[in-house]
């Protein structure tokens, strides 16, 4: 029975993170870390994510995007792109922060076409706009859901959804 905790070899993951740091310099923030075998969290400046993702796709066969997670910390929004680098079998989470008062980012559907529906989901739930997305429409919420109300934001309250039984 393998004992993951003690004998995990995270050398490859550390090397890959260092490679990113060498290539992109201070665009890779110090808070980036190797969580465990096959899990690396890469915190980047919010103007660098497209280059980092392109680099991973071109060099590490990282074309499979699992999903995009949005998060509301109360002060700002965080976007996390979970991408699987096939060459080294590591899941990279590229993460950056965007301001609450201007939640607009560029799409990555030109780099990773699989991100299409995930960007729509984040738009639906958080109201973050993805510039350049071919079809940025509502994905999950009902058609009569009021505009401007985003259920996963911290300040969402049930009444804002305007659900009445009539």
């Amino acid at each position: 029975m393998s004992d993951d905790k003690v004998v995990q070899n995270i050398e490859t993951e550390k090397q890959l993170l260092n490679e990113l740091k060498e290539k992109f310099g201070d665009k890779i923030l110090d808070s980036s870390y190797v969580k465990r075998h096959r899990r690396v969290f890469v915190d980047v400046k919010n103007n660098a994510y497209r280059d980092v993702i392109t680099y991973m796709r071109d060099n590490w066969d990282a074309i499979h995007i699992t999903t995009i997670t949005g998060m509301d910390t109360g002060e700002s929004f965080i976007l996390m792109y979970h991408i699987f680098a096939k060459k080294h079998k590591v899941v990279f989470t590229v993460r950056f922060t965007i301001p609450r008062d201007n939640p607009v980012v560029k799409t990555i559907t030109d780099i990773l076409p699989g991100a299409n529906l995930y960007e729509r989901e984040v738009y639906d739930m958080f109201g973050i706009k993805f510039e350049g997305h071919p079809n940025l429409k509502r994905l999950l919420l009902p058609e009569d859901w009021p505009e401007g109300v985003y259920p996963l934001r911290k300040d969402f309250k049930r009444e804002m959804g305007g659900m009445k039984n009539e």
């Binding site: 029975m1 393998s2 004992d3 993951d4 905790k5 969580k35 465990r36 096959r38 899990r39 969290f41 074309i63 499979h64 995007i65 699992t66 999903t67 997670t69 998060m71 996390m80 979970h82 699987f84 096939k86 079998k89 899941v91 989470t93 990773l112 076409p113 699989g114 991100a115 299409n116 529906l117 995930y118 989901e121 739930m125 509502r138 994905l139 999950l140 919420l141 009902p142 058609e143 259920p151 996963l152 969402f156």
Partner: protein, 408 residues
């Protein structure tokens, strides 16, 4: 297209623009004659706001909530959730618990694939297959009920291990059932690969090229039927999958027939895995008490559910007893882009079976809007109408369609 519209349909004469109906439809298809030009699935029909609920409920209550994201792969959801929380807690569950958790995952794969095989049979008018596979599926449901007390939403997992143990008597019953299932499904596989009317509906239908499948981040049997040997259990092992000997099944033909045979072969692999698990089951407890307070941190766990890659991301702020963020990405969502590609250029009569081919976990085909580009008319087709249309169309056209497909 027939001119008489049955009474439960709506005929709307429209121009060439995209209609924006208030009807809750699940699918929008643009057709020219009998060929699909474009297909857009519209999901959100079943959106229940689970991520929000998970954030508001305690970790313990969320374990019950996530099981009901999908009734067919409920153990995958609950098991992955518990795995993720255990990673946040930095704890290892006892080996026997790991084995039983994996046992339930593989049993779930058996029940899901046999369910799918029946549904696929039903879609192409092969109702005997539906009856046979669902009868055999009852063997698996009996086992699940014996292990956990429920046929669906078994509640086997908890944070720290599993809830019930496997006795020797149960073990023998399961092994016996595995032998019977293996024999029966070998028979179905043989019949399917020899029955020309069935193959005519499956071979060279719903093509998804390998490069497209990879580009669109497809997952699960859909991906493996396009020649990609990708399986989370081998690429990103979790639980005890790095110990169990098994093969990743993939077929190269990129069509519906490949999707059928990938699932059938995975069925046999799962049977082998279940036998290995039961014959190597270690002794010991099945559960280790987990601390109530979850420390600060984040964790990502992926699971090869019967439909494909399932992902959970959980972030804990270390202070409260409910998660700060739970993100769930179900496998069906990852395959939606691929359906659009598969449907382009296919016959209308093939739409139900192609959509069923990705094993969607939503009532996808309930209401489909078909827009006929050449006449400008839009109709709402129910799944019953689609199935009817398919059967009638194939009765008329089976011969030349199959010839055309065998030529390719």
């Amino acid at each position: 297209m027939s001119n008489d519209i049955p009474e439960d349909e709506i005929l709307i004469p429209l121009g060439p623009q995209h209609p924006a109906l208030k009807e809750p439809i699940n699918f929008m298809i643009r057709a020219e004659g009998e060929i699909v030009v474009d297909a857009q699935p519209r999901i959100g029909y079943v959106h229940r706001g689970i991520e929000r609920l998970a954030m508001e409920r305690t970790y313990l209550k969320t374990a019950y909530l996530v099981e009901r994201v999908c009734g067919i792969c409920s153990a995958a959801h609950q098991g992955t959730y518990c795995m993720t929380v255990e990673e946040l807690l930095d704890m290892e569950i006892p080996p026997r618990g790991e084995y039983i958790r994996t046992l339930v995952w593989e049993l779930e794969r058996l029940h899901s694939h046999s369910l799918w095989l029946g549904v696929a049979g039903h879609e192409i008018g092969f109702d005997t297959l539906f009856m046979y596979t669902w009868r055999d599926r009852e063997l698996v449901m009996d086992i699940l009920e014996m292990l956990s007390g429920n046929r669906v939403n078994y509640g086997m997992n908890k944070i720290g291990g599993v809830r019930y143990d496997v006795t020797d008597e149960m073990k023998n019953k399961i092994l016996k059932a595995m032998d019977l299932l293996e024999k029966r499904f070998k028979d179905y596989k043989k019949k399917l690969s020899e029955e020309p009317t069935v193959l005519g509906r499956l071979v060279n239908v719903g093509i998804l090229k390998k490069s497209t499948a990879i580009k669109l981040s497809a997952v699960g049997p859909t991906l493996r039927a396009s020649g990609v040997k990708a399986d989370i259990r081998k690429d990103d092992p979790y639980g005890i999958y790095d110990e169990i000997p098994f093969e990743v099944i993939s077929y190269d033909s990129c069509d519906l027939a490949a999707r059928v045979f990938v699932r059938i072969d995975e069925f046999f692999e799962s049977i082998k895995m279940i036998r290995w698990i039961l014959n190597n089951l270690p002794d010991g407890p099945v559960y280790k008490r987990a601390p109530i307070r979850i420390p600060q941190g984040e964790a990502i766990c992926r699971n090869e559910a019967p439909r494909g890659e399932l992902m959970y991301y959980i972030k804990s702020d270390g202070k409260s007893n409910h998660p700060e963020r739970v993100k769930i990405r179900t496998p069906t969502l990852a395959n939606i882009l691929s359906i659009g590609e598969m449907l382009k250029g296919s016959y209308l009569a093939d739409v139900p079976i192609i959509v069923a081919g990705i094993d969607p976990c939503i009532s996808c085909m309930d209401r489909v809007m078909v827009v006929h580009e050449d006449t400008g008319k839009a109709e709402i087709w129910t799944d019953e109408k689609f199935r009817d249309y398919s059967r009638k169309w194939y009765k008329k056209n089976l011969k030349w369609v199959v010839e055309e497909r065998w030529k390719k």
